[in-house]
């Protein structure tokens, strides 16, 4: 409170001090068999930044979706600025000044920014007027908060960072004074994240109230005033940020002690496993994405690729894993060249000893409508152990799946459950279990912990290190700079399709910052 006042530029009214912006009492919600929220109480002070943390599937998104009127609570009361309300639907929530930036963005991909902004808030039946109005308002917001995006850009062409700005602008355009952000930084680079936080603080200082869901305790500690912890659909507790620490929070979340920093010994690199030579990749629409990239990864080392999202990492991964034919250059695994002919050499590449954990599990790594055991053999179904000849041995496959479920502690422990019904964290584990637990020579991993809670992060990091210590080669791509630095033995920084430099993980934030901006620190 005290520091609030110090920090606040404008003095909040007395009323605001006592009347909380949001007050949830005994809120419960269940989806069929799944009880997502059990009797939740939550109080959010006016013009404060309130953090919410919790494991995957803890019920954070659901609780916020209820507050935003997207879902209806089965029980419980909602008070907004002290007034008891029955939030009928999202438009009602918006009228009450509650805006939400969803975890999975709610944008129409082939619309312009402007169209997305006005959608649902058009005003009169013809668009012309409202569009003009929106333009001005956007200009104003851009000026006030440095939230600038080209109003006529098509969403598809924007980076995730920009997409998120659009989401925030949507909320502000609708005059939200309570702003909910669900895992906003999951997809952002450190720089983007910092920009976002500056904006959030500015909003708070102007009297808005912000609820921030995140899996990253660093962020919680950095900008929240208060933090609430959820576990398995219940509210474990709410504390003032200044009175707590990452380890305490982690323990509250998971219910046990967790190591937050990765412990690893020095690497003993062996001979080259993966060699990339003058690789250039051009995407379907002819845009060059990877430009003459060369590097190699040795047995027993983890090579990290740092960089802002959208600088060619994805295309690099796709080329190496045989999913996409590169334009020029060659890739060798254990000295054997990958022959790109026709569509889908990914299976051959796998047989050469490469395992691939894709960046986006929902889009690529999993068929969410399949049962868990089916996903646990995706890409390896031709293996002898899954049945000989053309036939598939369901029995063998399920036994194999159970083995992996136990080894990677995937929950619920049911190979017959539809994959969509696993939480994101567990979905990620299914992919890791499939790719890591086999005799591979090199593992390439994209965004291994995106959207995954710390309990799972700790586990995943351990597994990657273990693999390295068994003398496997690992290529790690992540937009989480911390992650890259703490896991890798060498770090390559990628910018605009090129590898600008190689840095030691111990290099300073500043050096990385420069490199990721495309400037080789060596030359500075």
């Amino acid at each position: 409170m005290v520091e609030n006042q110090i920090r606040n530029t404008q003095q909040p009214s007395r009323a605001a001090e006592i009347v909380p912006a949001i007050d949830l009492k005994g809120v419960s919600k269940s989806f069929g068999p799944v009880q997502a929220n059990k009797d939740i109480n939550l109080t959010v002070k006016r013009n404060s930044i309130h953090g919410i943390v919790g494991e995957n599937g803890a019920g954070k998104s659901t609780l916020m979706s209820i507050l935003y009127g997207f879902y209806k609570a089965d029980a419980g009361d909602i008070f907004v600025h002290g007034k008891k309300v029955q939030i009928k639907d999202s438009s009602h929530a918006l009228d009450l000044g509650i805006g939400m930036v969803h975890q999975h963005f709610m944008l129409v991909e082939n619309f312009t920014v402007l169209e997305n902004i006005i959608l649902g808030a058009e005003g009169d039946p013809l668009l012309a007027a409202s569009k003009a109005a929106a333009r001005e308002e956007l200009a104003r917001l851009a000026k006030d908060y440095g939230l600038n995006v080209d109003p006529d850009a098509i969403i598809e062409d924007l980076s995730v960072g920009q997409e998120q700005r659009v989401e925030i602008l949507k909320a502000l355009y609708r005059g939200a004074d309570v702003l909910i952000l669900d895992e906003p930084t999951g997809v952002l680079t450190p720089t983007e994240a910092d920009q976002l936080f500056r904006i959030l603080e500015q909003l708070r200082d102007e009297g808005k109230t912000i609820i921030l869901i995140t899996h990253k305790l660093r962020e919680i500690m950095a900008i929240t005033d208060t933090v609430s912890v959820m576990r398995r659909g219940t509210m474990v507790g709410t504390v003032a940020t200044k009175d707590t620490s990452p380890d305490k929070l982690a323990e509250m979340m998971v219910g046990r002690h967790v190591l937050l920093k990765v412990e690893k010994t020095a690497a003993q690199p062996g001979e080259k496993v993966l060699e990339v030579d003058g690789l250039s990749v051009t995407d379907d629409i002819g845009v060059p994405r990877v430009k003459n990239v060369s590097f190699d990864v040795r047995a027993g080392e983890i090579v990290g690729i740092a960089g802002v999202a959208g600088n060619g990492q994805s295309q690099l991964l796709e080329a190496i894993s045989g999913m996409f034919n590169p334009l020029l250059g060659e890739i060798r695994i254990n000295g054997k060249k990958i022959k790109f002919d026709g569509d889908g050499v990914a299976d051959e590449v796998r047989r050469m000893g490469l395992a691939h954990v894709p960046e986006d599990r929902h889009k690529m790594g999993l068929v969410t409508t399949f049962e868990e055991w089916e996903n646990s053999m995706l890409g390896y179904d031709d293996d002898q152990k899954f049945g000989n000849g053309p036939f598939l041995s369901v029995k063998a496959a399920r036994e194999d799946a159970i083995k992996r479920i136990e080894m990677f502690d995937i929950r619920p422990q049911n190979p017959r459950l539809k994959t969509a019904n696993f939480s994101g964290g567990n979905q990620q584990k299914i992919v890791l279990a499939r790719e890591m637990d086999r005799d591979l020579d090199i593992l390439i991993v994209g965004q291994p912990t995106r959207g995954v809670d710390i309990g799972a992060i700790e586990f995943i990091h351990k597994q990657i290190i273990k693999l390295r210590d068994e003398g496997k080669a690992v290529l790690l791509v992540s937009v989480e700079l911390d992650e890259v630095r703490s896991l890798s033995d060498r770090v390559l920084v990628m910018f605009d399709g090129e590898i600008v430099t190689e840095l030691a993980p111990t290099a300073s934030e500043k050096e990385f910052g420069l490199a990721m901006a495309g400037l080789d620190p060596a030359q500075q």
Binding site: F370, G379, D381, F391
Partner: protein, 372 residues
């Protein structure tokens, strides 16, 4: 907690479909009443005509066999992510392959005719479906357009073949009849029970096809690849599955299945090929496939249901001539509507009913059953 409870599987998979079909029959009955006929009697006749005698059953099964083939065809394509509206044309063109083999071999022995016609039918059917498949995979030509177009093209092609090429002077746009020696036996030749009904050896082929498709889709690696592609093309790419070859293969299988109808109808029963012999069975196959949830068990049930409606319908035409024969089509439509498209209509109601009767723990068990 609301009073709703998740339904046990028997309620979901037996009770609800039954209620849907019943509703369809009731509405159909209203139509009958509308024109001043006795609906109860009509429904009795319908049911008796379809199942009441070995003879009626024979017809029902014969129609069901054809529908099983066209239904499975749609289902296989569907699992690879493609909507094959072309069953009608594929079955039609397949008739050409079937009959030409049959007429070529009919002086030998019916076994050769059976094998030859089957091969011929499956080959042409597969071809007629694989082309749209290839165009989809390679050129991105939308399969729905191409299969629709191929239906029309098939009609023109067959009109040409039957009127100008393999025609037989004196008779009308149809091939000559298969010689006695080469006629595929009807079951009635072995079972008096089926006397005078067209059900024939292809019935067993239908059963084989059902099991075959099940094994293909859920017990082979090809099937796994087909389903992966159908459910998530990106994941298929990630897994190194070649979309082009899988699509072409899936469509070929689909067409081959549709083609089997030719052997059941044209070769075995009509013993010759006549213009437009498919008579819409290809289109009903779409309904059969979707109502059967693209699963062999569902498909066989749907096929029998529709077969029964056809056969019961013709019985109705004898017994109650005042009822226009189109009533059957109307009832078919209602069945498709209620048990196909509106299949969850009664779910909320039932959930409340069950909720009222059952205590929490049981409900949870049911929930688990449902989830697994």
């Amino acid at each position: 907690m609301s009073a709703r409870q998740p339904l046990p599987s028997w309620a979901l998979n037996v009770l609800m479909p039954a209620m849907n079909v019943l509703l369809a029959l009731i509405v159909g009955g209203l139509a009958v009443a509308m024109i001043g006929e006795n609906p109860i009697q009509a429904m009795q006749v319908l049911a008796y005509g379809a199942f009441g005698s070995g003879y009626g059953l024979g017809f029902t099964l014969h129609y069901a066999t054809s529908l099983t083939f066209t239904g499975l065809a749609v289902a296989v394509a569907f699992h690879s992510g493609l909507f094959n509206i072309g069953g009608e044309g594929q079955a039609y063109v397949a008739g050409l392959g079937a009959i030409m083999m049959a007429l070529w071999l009919d002086h030998t022995h019916w076994v050769f005719v059976l094998v030859g016609a089957t091969v011929g039918a499956m080959t042409l059917g597969a071809l007629w479906a694989a082309i749209p498949g290839y165009l989809q995979a390679k050129r991105g030509s939308h399969i729905v357009i191409t299969t629709i177009m191929f239906n029309f093209i098939a009609s023109a092609l067959m009109s040409y073949m039957l009127a100008q090429v393999i025609t037989n002077p004196g008779s009308n746009a149809e091939t000559r009849t298969i010689a006695e020696t080469g006629r595929i036996p009807l079951l009635s030749e072995y079972f008096e029970f089926f006397k005078h009904s067209p059900v024939n050896i292809m019935l067993f082929f239908g059963v084989v096809a059902l099991i075959g498709v099940y094994i293909l889709l859920w017990r082979t690696k090809l099937g796994f690849k087909i389903r992966t592609l159908g459910q998530n093309p990106e994941a298929a790419r990630y897994a190194g599955i070649s979309a082009v070859s899988i699509i072409v293969i899936a469509m070929a299988i689909s067409g081959a299945l549709a083609g089997m109808m030719a052997v059941n109808e044209a070769v075995s029963v009509q013993k010759r090929l006549v213009v437009g012999y498919v008579q819409g069975f290809g289109f009903i196959g779409i309904a059969v496939a979707f109502m059967g949830r693209a699963h062999p068990v569902g498909i066989v049930l749907a096929a029998i249901l529709f077969g029964a409606l056809y056969q019961g319908g013709s019985e109705l035409a004898f017994v109650m001539p005042a009822v226009p024969s189109e009533l059957v089509v109307v009832i078919q439509a209602l069945v498709i509507l209620f048990s196909g498209a509106m299949d969850e209509m009664f779910k909320p109601v039932l959930e409340r009913v069950f909720g009222a009767f059952r205590s929490k723990p049981q409900a949870d068990k049911a929930a688990e059953i449902e989830e697994a």
